[in-house]
């Protein structure tokens, strides 16, 4: 079995892992290979977390016409190191009245759950820790552990703000988990599989130079947008960062955490963001597949991380622009817009499946999506009569 240099580059990590493992006795091989993959995932995504914190701070800085961190290391890129040292050396304060055990377990559970989700994300061709048949289900299952961790943090701190933050976080996460799952169901319908690997494989083919990504269908595009909105809410990012709500409830559920535990919360939050973005890439943006057929020579894992970075940039951009929603608005947005839209999207995906391909199918599906979107957004606004106002002037 010979591979072209392109394939070699693409499969570099896979083959080197195989080679390393093959030196070991047979009974250790599968275990070692799993451990190696886990270490790789932990290292790579922790590094990505570090890079993202710098990128976010510098990007936000530039959006706000500032420099951002530029003192530690070249152009400030060693800032995460300094932050890490700081958080490690800080005193670990636990409130006297806190529920010590739960208070300690919450960040651990959060980070564990966040890391667990990466097990089913195919970051490259043949590069997935486990190819579960129910991969997406697994993803959402471990994702639901995050809610529990957040609740534990908010409740065990015995702080009114953290309690409010915890309540907000749970309400928000439960509400947005429904549209998140429903938005990904369209892909499961189209792919006929719950396995992330086979979903990516389905998208990794081309017509001419154009890829078969699900985002290039009406339901896929709508699903992607809905999924990303729900993912933003799930990962507590602006404009859905109510559980932290810095200006309202200060830091929300992790107000009573300091030092390394605080850093763990930070880490868990970003890991959750990467994971949901990774799932969005897997489901809608063709996973590790190249965007054009003539770009397939670039290794697949690079494509995955490029797409991930793109989504992170969009997250940062949105954070730099938008104010935060209010709790009731968040809820009504989830239940009055997101949920019906995802259900409509399911219907549209069915229509797409059963209609003969052609321009008519496109038009019908787009119409079926745009009409309810307009109607729903209007109904969302109508109760409150939001409008750009005109003012009178007195001389």
């Amino acid at each position: 079995m010979t591979m072209s240099p392109i394939q070699q580059a693409d499969q570099f990590f896979v083959t080197s892992q195989h080679r390393f493992v093959s030196y070991l006795p047979a009974e250790f091989q599968s275990l070692t290979s799993a451990i190696l993959s886990v270490i790789a995932i932990v290292l790579v995504f922790a590094l990505l977390f570090a890079i993202t914190t710098v990128l976010e701070r510098k990007g936000l800085g530039r959006i706000q016409n500032r420099y951002g961190p530029n003192r530690v290391g070249p152009a400030g890129f060693f800032q995460p190191l300094a932050d890490g040292v700081k958080s490690l050396t800080k005193e670990d304060l636990v409130p006297r009245t806190a529920d010590q055990m739960v208070h300690f377990l919450a960040p651990v559970l959060l980070v564990t759950a966040a890391f667990l989700a990466y097990a089913v994300l195919p970051v490259g061709r043949n590069m997935v820790l486990v190819n579960l048949n129910a991969g997406i289900l697994y993803f959402f299952a471990v994702g639901s552990l995050v809610e529990l961790a957040v609740f534990m943090a908010g409740w065990s701190s015995r702080n009114k703000y953290s309690l409010l933050g915890g309540m907000r976080a749970i309400a928000q996460m439960i509400s947005y988990e429904v549209p998140l799952v429903l938005a990904s169901v369209v892909v499961i319908m189209a792919a006929g599989s719950l396995s992330t690997v086979s979903i990516v494989d389905m998208q990794a083919s081309y017509t001419g130079i154009w890829p078969h990504w699900f985002v290039f269908t009406p339901w896929g595009f709508a699903g992607f947008i809905l999924f990303m909105i729900a993912a933003t809410a799930e990962s507590n990012r602006s404009p859905f960062d109510l559980p932290e709500g810095e200006s309202e409830i200060i830091a929300g559920y992790y107000i009573e955490y300091s030092g390394f535990k605080f850093a763990l919360f930070f880490l868990g939050e970003y890991l959750g963001m990467f994971a949901t973005s990774g799932l969005a890439i897997t489901l809608f943006l063709g996973g590790w597949a190249a965007p054009f057929s003539f770009l397939t020579w670039i290794p697949s894992y690079l494509w995955f991380f490029a797409k991930l970075l793109l989504l992170i940039v969009i997250f940062i951009w949105i954070r730099g622009t938008l104010p935060r929603l209010r709790m009731d608005q968040l809820m009504s947005f989830a239940w009055q817009f997101m949920l019906p839209m995802t259900l409509f999207n399911l219907f549209v995906a069915g229509v797409w499946h059963f209609m003969p391909s052609g321009i008519v199918r496109w038009l019908v599906c787009i119409a079926l999506l745009v009409a309810p979107a307009i109607l729903l957004s209007r109904s969302l606004k109508q109760g409150k009569k939001f409008a750009v106002r005109h003012y009178r002037f007195a001389e």
Binding site: L137, A141, S144, L194
Partner: protein, 165 residues
């Protein structure tokens, strides 16, 4: 395999026993969550991926959260210091015994599988087939029940809102 099973079974049992024995209601729910998770792991051990993950998604992700939410809404967050034995303990144990009897009867009647079945793939098609063909009536009944419960909750909430303008 047996070792894994034993560990998981011990974990599950420990979680559920702790859920009964702990004083703080939130701790009880958290311990129960551990039990749920252990149960899910047991399902996975049996190769039932779909059931296992659904167990986590539904029980850990939704039921446990709902339980703590209800506790937080109805009770103060301060641990209750009263006795863990309810005054209805007789009735409670009767109900528990009855549930146990029914479950035991059902399990014993089904007969233990003597041969190991090939692991079923958690593919979408067979699950969909099963739900839409074989078990369509139970599914519909469940859906109806949940809808009724939801409508009931909405009605209750609306009533509440009208009462306190």
């Amino acid at each position: 395999m047996t070792v894994t099973f034993l560990i998981l079974a011990a974990l599950t049992l420990a979680g559920t026993v702790a859920a009964m024995a702990m004083r703080n209601l939130i701790h009880c729910v958290l311990a129960l969550t551990l039990g749920f998770a252990g149960l899910a792991a047991l399902y996975l051990l049996l190769g039932a991926q779909f059931v296992g993950f659904t167990q986590i998604l539904v029980y850990v992700g939704a039921v446990a959260i709902l339980a703590v939410f209800v506790i937080m809404m109805t009770q103060s967050a301060i641990p209750a210091m009263q006795s863990i034995f309810s005054s209805f303990w007789v009735a409670g144990s009767v109900v528990a015994a009855a549930v146990f009897a029914v479950l035991a009867w059902a399990i014993c009647r089904s007969g233990f599988a003597s041969q190991v079945l090939p692991p079923v793939e958690a593919a979408v098609h067979p699950i969909g087939d099963a739900l839409m063909h074989g078990y369509v009536l139970p599914l519909e009944i469940m859906g109806l029940l949940l809808t009724a419960a939801m409508i009931g909750a909405v009605v209750l909430a609306m009533h509440e809102k009208r009462r306190t303008p």
